[in-house]
Amino acid sequence: MPTIIEEGKDTIIFVTKEDHEAPSNAELVEEDPNDPYEERGLILPSGEINWNCPCLGGMASGPCGSEFKEAFSCFHYSKEEVKGSECLDQFRSMQECMQRYPELYPQEDEKDEKDKQEQATESGANAASEGQKDNDTTESEVKS
């Protein structure tokens, strides 16, 4: 049983693992997947890309932002069997742009960036379908 101590206006409860074994009966309000106020993940409920998603870091807002947006949009809307196979030009121009700013887009991490984007897309897609993922906003920066 939990130990409960009252110290003035403050209540202190000590619980063991067993005390917390039973599932919680606290009721949470159901989430509205179309809540306009909510922070969105990478993919908006409309299916569009949320360029302001913290998960993108500064990719959409930096000097190569427009190239990135074009490449990623093309990839996102691609219906080819190999997704994004028709977007090579856009990705190439994005890469060319990024090569001009090695400080911002470190070359050795480029592959990681691509992987990260793919991960972000997948998780973003999951978020869209589940509507529960909470992409918090407390982001810091582009990975160094």
Binding site: K9, D10, A26, V29, T138
Partner: protein, 663 residues
């Protein structure tokens, strides 16, 4: 008037007769091909006296000539005027077109420089001669903001032979205008801190090609503040004060600057940047704001107009009145900690004095005390912390937890002087003597005052913006808007939180969240403050907590604790998630793969009663604030509970949602 009329009456008959005769003559001349004598048989009574044919002819000739001359003159004048008009209009048009793109100024000196190096002496002489003539012509043409425009128009006709010039200067751009800063910025962000940077990023993400100008009175590009009182102090690198890079627990290194300088566009190039960009104008302070005219005035008297403006001026550290009155000797030995330069100076001081006293027991004071305390173990530095409350974080944590935390801070090597109200500070015998109201005395070499932040509302008066009397700062609505086209974010914003009521928040994540929201609203989103920001604090490697909402120790609290294991420390949390700064771990959980921890987690004492847990802060039985005590990566659940705003009968059941016993 009457005289005119009289004269006219006299002339009229003459005119009439002359004109009818004139017309008649023309008609008959045309018809017959030869000049006819005056045809009408009857003479008009008003005809010229004497009715001489030759006189009439003379009149006709004179009048005809006058008519022709007058007509010709009128025609020439009108044509000349229209030509001048056309020229003027085209000049204005080309000038306004060039006013927006300020490319001329930056490009101008470059071709000038490039030209001499790439050309032979002859063309160079011509070139310099030409630019001189061009600049001589500039005063002649009206004084435009861009001398560029008329230069273009004149250069082409005057020196068609100098082909090298058009080659060195790109076709539409002229040459000799000086470097000028933008006089208009579509998005103007006042202040170069976290809120402004977050807004800039948000604007750029949503408005492609946006041109964002950040104006800051600091000499630095935007940077993050939390490491200044935490991670930077734990760095092993002796040059850390220069590099401002810190190694996170997981080994990843990063700079406190949000982005390196290559990310930004130069202010002079902002207006002409094809895809827009973010430019930072450092070392300039906005001193006046003209809301009606949509423009601001800088401390060097330049004016910048804007379409949308964000005020992210943050605040200035407060000082104790007794210190301000204590004189220069004391003031010179007092640090008000906020900026990079304060970090550098305090780092230097800490290496050169024997004793430092921190006044203030809140976040900043406690973090600095722990950081300096850690250093004290190496250098023998005495670190003292004094505050009016009973324990560290006394205004945030419930008493039992505040006491527990104070013990931890003591273990970091800090001498705590609680319940201390400073009466006076004096400089005596090469030492600062702090006299407390209850008679206690503390002697030290240097003081760090961490007694709060005064929000910077300098522009309120000139801009006509409302200042909040309860919380300080600019009063804004739930969408962070102060007035049309003006938003406020970060420390300076007193905003309406739909869930928690009007408040002002001085935390890093709030600056990010509100800055991002302001940026969204500046690009037309119209969203209220809804996503609740969080904050965190680490007091040494063993005590760390994340919090969200209103965390005020005067509220009734319910704390649910479990026994902590060695895995529940801030260090372990960041190692596991592979990220550095705590808040980062939240957002980028989607995109980052965890780094495997290679070092075993430190062993922790198991005697601690408050090892890990969740503390709920209640207002009218509704949870308005939550602290996650040594429990990490559960902020989304906490956020959800606050968002719901429900009354929960048993908070232990709510605590179950956090799975505090697990990792």
């Amino acid at each position: 008037m009457l005289k005119c009329r009289a004269v006219w009456r006299k002339l009229a008959p003459l005119a009439r007769s002359a004109s009818t005769q004139c017309r008649h003559n023309v008609k008959t001349a045309l018809n017959n091909g030869r000049r006819q004598a005056f045809v009408p048989a009857t003479h008009m009574s008003t005809g010229p006296a004497g009715g001489g044919g030759s006189e009439n002819t003379l009149y006709v000739v004179l009048v005809g000539a006058a008519c022709l001359g007058g007509g010709a003159y009128a025609y020439m004048t009108v044509r000349g005027d229209s030509k001048r008009y056309e020229e003027r209009i085209s000049e204005l048009a080309s000038r306004s077109a060039k006013e927006a793109p300020e490319s001329q100024p930056p490009v101008a000196p470059e071709p000038e420089e490039a030209a001499p190096t790439s050309e032979e002496s002859a063309p160079v002489a011509e070139l310099s001669g030409e630019t001189e003539s061009a600049s001589a012509e500039e005063p002649v043409t009206e004084v435009p903001a861009e001398p560029a425009a008329p230069v273009v128009e004149e250069e082409a006709p005057t020196e068609p032979a100098v082909t090298s010039l058009p080659e060195s200067a790109p076709a539409p751009e002229p040459v000799s205008a000086p470097l000028t800063l933008p006089s208009h910025a579509p998005y103007l962000l006042i202040g170069g801190g976290t809120a402004s940077f977050a807004a800039a990023r948000s604007i750029r993400a949503r408005d492609p090609g946006a041109k964002v100008l950040i104006v800051t009175d600091e000499p630095n590009l935007p940077y993050m503040r939390p490491p200044l009182s935490k991670e930077l102090w734990f760095s092993d690198d002796p040059s850390v004060t220069e590099t401002l890079r810190f190694k996170q627990w997981n080994g990843k290194e990063r700079s406190i600057y949000f982005q390196p300088s290559s990310f930004y566009v130069k202010p002079e190039e902002l207006t002409s940047a094809e895809n827009g960009g973010v430019a930072v104008l450092t070392g300039k302070k906005v001193i006046q704001m003209d809301v009606r005219g949509n423009k601001v005035k800088l401390d060097d008297d330049t004016e910048i107009s804007y379409d949308k403006c964000l005020i992210g001026t943050g605040g200035v550290p407060r000082n104790l009145q007794v210190i301000e009155k204590a004189g220069d000797e004391v003031m010179n030995r007092t640090t008000l900690f906020r900026k990079i330069e304060d970090f550098k100076s305090l780092d230097n001081v800490s290496r050169n004095v024997k004793s430092i006293t921190i006044i203030g027991g809140g976040f900043l004071g406690s973090e600095l005390a722990c950081a300096l305390g850690r250093r004290s173990s190496e250098t023998g530095l005495e670190v003292i912390q004094m505050f009016p409350e009973k324990g560290n974080m006394g205004k945030v944590l419930p008493e039992y937890l505040s006491n527990w935390t104070t013990e931890k801070v003591k273990k970091e090597g800090v001498r705590i002087v609680p319940e201390a109200l400073v009466k006076s500070v004096a400089f005596k015998e090469d030492k600062l003597e702090i006299l407390l109201k209850d008679g206690r005395q503390v002697k030290t070499d240097h003081i760090v005052a961490a007694v709060g932040l005064e929000p910077n509302v300098d522009l309120a008066k000139s801009a006509g913006l409302e200042v909040d009397s309860d919380f300080g700062g600019y009063r804004v609505n739930a969408e962070l808007q102060a007035r049309s086209n003006i938003w406020v974010a970060g420390d300076a914003a007193c905003f309406y939180d739909i869930r928690l009521g009007r408040r002002r928040v001085e935390h890093h994540d709030h600056a990010v969240v509100s800055g991002r929201l302001a940026g969204e609203n500046m690009t037309g989103a119209n969203k209220p403050y809804w996503h609740q920001s969080m904050f965190w604090s680490d007091l040494g490697p063993d005590v760390g907590y994340e919090a969200i909402g209103i965390v005020d120790s005067s509220l009734p609290t319910v704390g649910v604790f479990a026994k902590a294991t060695s895995k529940d420390t801030p260090k372990a949390a960041t190692e596991q998630s592979g990220t550095g700064i705590r808040s980062e771990s939240e957002t980028e959980a989607t995109a980052v793969t965890p780094v495997a921890s290679s070092t075993p987690a430190p062993v922790m004492e198991h005697k601690d009663e408050y090892g890990k847990g969740v503390i709920f802060y209640l207002r009218d039985k509704v949870v308005v604030g939550i602290i996650l005590w040594n429990v990490f990566n559960r902020m989304p659940i906490a956020r959800k509970i606050i968002k719901d705003g429900e009354e929960h009968a048993d908070l232990n059941e709510v605590a179950k949602l956090f799975n505090i016993h697990e990792d």
